[in-house]
Amino acid sequence: MGIKTVSMVVLAAAALFATTTLQADEFTRADLDLWQSQYQAAVKKGRQVFTDPGLGTNGVVCAQCHPNAANTHPETYPKFQKQLGKVATMAEMINFCIMNPLEGKPLALDDPRMIAIQAYITEERRGVPLAPGKH
């Protein structure tokens, strides 16, 4: 390999580095750790809300009827819910269960507890294929 080719390779490499610093980088360990810790904190909080007798008004908790969040089917949403007469999100069914078996007040969709419940439910179902619209 001549001197000329070597310097071209060096130049090309330099150009490559220059562009990659301007474009998206690999995720860093710090990014991954942050996402994971934030998400796991939501999952943990979700489990607490799921077993919190203070969520409704009668002391009943979600886990009483949904052990390991079974029969909540996050993978099937959004879907047509006959009794609601429309395509609903899981949050609406969560509020339905808060208002009925728990005799409580519905949560705002951006209430951190609502988000946490969804994180916990979905975490328990990880690995199950999406089945939107199914029951």
Binding site: T51, T57, N58, G59, V60, A63, Q64, C65, H66, P67, N68, A70, N71, H73, E75, T76, Q83, M93, F96, C97, N100, P101, E103, E124, R125, R126, G127, V128, A131, K134, H135
Partner: protein
């Protein structure tokens, strides 16, 4: 085998409940000599839950009140009623008292088995003070009945882990709480059982009542009894054995050797089948045709009671489902196992349990 029609059994029920269906399991035992056939009702898992003072969770109260009202309308009368455990949610006196007050409306003799929700607050002290021993046996129309307390666990877990009875009860009350511990009958009661069975002729049909299944289905939710095989071994010499259990809040049935197993629905709420927990392996008996998923918009759906007919020591279990066609699971002498009289042969495509 005589087939009962729910309407015959519950004369007047429709008037009172406006065509509603039933949260009871009625069980008929039948013999060649039909004078020995009889029926008993099985009510289970009412989970009476105190909110505060004299306020209790309405939904669970309603389930039990309905079962009592409907069992009282059965005609002909059942020979007795069996209560399958978990009267209370957190084992409190107030909950047991409130549950027993509702159950005191029953017009027939009631036998009780201990559930974990009745036990882990005070280790069953209050329950026993009201209802007597937690394991006992009796004879009825040529059959031998045994009641076991199957929800005990390792001594170390019971006695050395928890700051208070409330904490211990709270952990055991959470079906999916990983700090829980597997149920068992234990060596002491097994010895008692062995002695009790020693005086029973092997041709006498034996019926066992326990709260947890005396077979292993799903350990994580305690659909399980740790020493199930040892109990089954004690029952093996008998020509015919039936085991009835509560705890699982759903229809299950199975045949292991000479033993037919039948689970009862709860009056409080239904549970998902173990396979709907995607992250763990479970062993629902292949024989069981699952019940339909519950409709959350109808709070009594998939709850109920059952009645049981006994024929020749074999049991026919009638499940009354509020929002679905009633189901009957009967012993089929040709196959030697309990089968759903409608769905076993012509299995309709089952509802997918996502």
């Amino acid at each position: 085998m005589k087939s009962f029609n729910r309407r015959d059994l519950l004369k007047g029920a429709g008037v009172m409940l406006a065509g509603a269906t039933l949260p009871v399991s009625l069980i008929e035992m039948a013999f060649a000599d039909s004078s020995r056939n009889f029926t008993f009702a099985y009510i289970s898992d009412s989970h009476i839950q105190q909110i505060k003072g004299n306020r209790f969770v309405r939904n669970w109260d309603r389930g039990l009140i309905r079962a009592v009202a409907e069992a009282n309308l059965m005609s002909p009368r059942p020979d007795f009623i069996f209560y399958g455990g978990d009267i209370a949610q957190l084992g409190k006196k107030a909950e047991i008292d409130h549950g027993l007050e509702i159950l005191s409306g029953l017009r027939d003799k009631v036998y009780y088995v201990m559930g974990e929700h009745d036990y882990y607050l005070d280790l069953g002290e209050y329950w026993r003070s009201q209802l007597g021993p937690d394991h006992y046996s009796f004879d009825h129309k040529g059959m031998h009945f045994v009641v076991l307390n199957s929800i005990l666990t390792y001594d170390d877990w019971t006695h050395n882990r928890w700051a208070s009875g409330e904490e211990r009860m709270g952990v055991m009350a959470g079906l999916d709480d990983h700090r829980g511990s597997p149920f068992m009958v234990g060596a002491k009661q097994r010895q008692w059982l062995q002695k009790d069975l020693a005086k029973v002729d092997i041709n006498t049909p034996v019926t066992i009542f326990s709260h947890s299944p005396l077979q292993k289905i799903f350990r994580n939710w305690n659909f399980w009894t740790e020493d199930a095989e040892q109990i089954q071994a004690l029952l093996k010499p008998f020509r015919k054995v039936n085991v009835f259990y509560g705890h699982v809040h759903q229809i299950q049935y199975n045949q292991i050797g000479n033993i037919s197993f039948h689970a009862a629905m709860a009056t409080a709420w239904p549970w998902p089948y173990p396979q709907s927990n995607a992250r763990a392996e479970s062993y629902l008996p292949k024989l069981t045709v699952p019940m339909n998923r519950a409709d959350p918009f109808f709070e009594r759906d998939a709850t109920g009671w059952q009645y049981i007919d006994i024929h020749s020591g074999n049991a026919t279990m009638h499940f009354s489902l509020p929002d679905n066609a009633p189901r009957t699971v009967a012993f089929n002498p040709a196959t030697g196992r309990p089968e759903d009289v409608t769905y076993q042969k012509h299995r309709i495509p089952p509802q997918f349990h996502y």
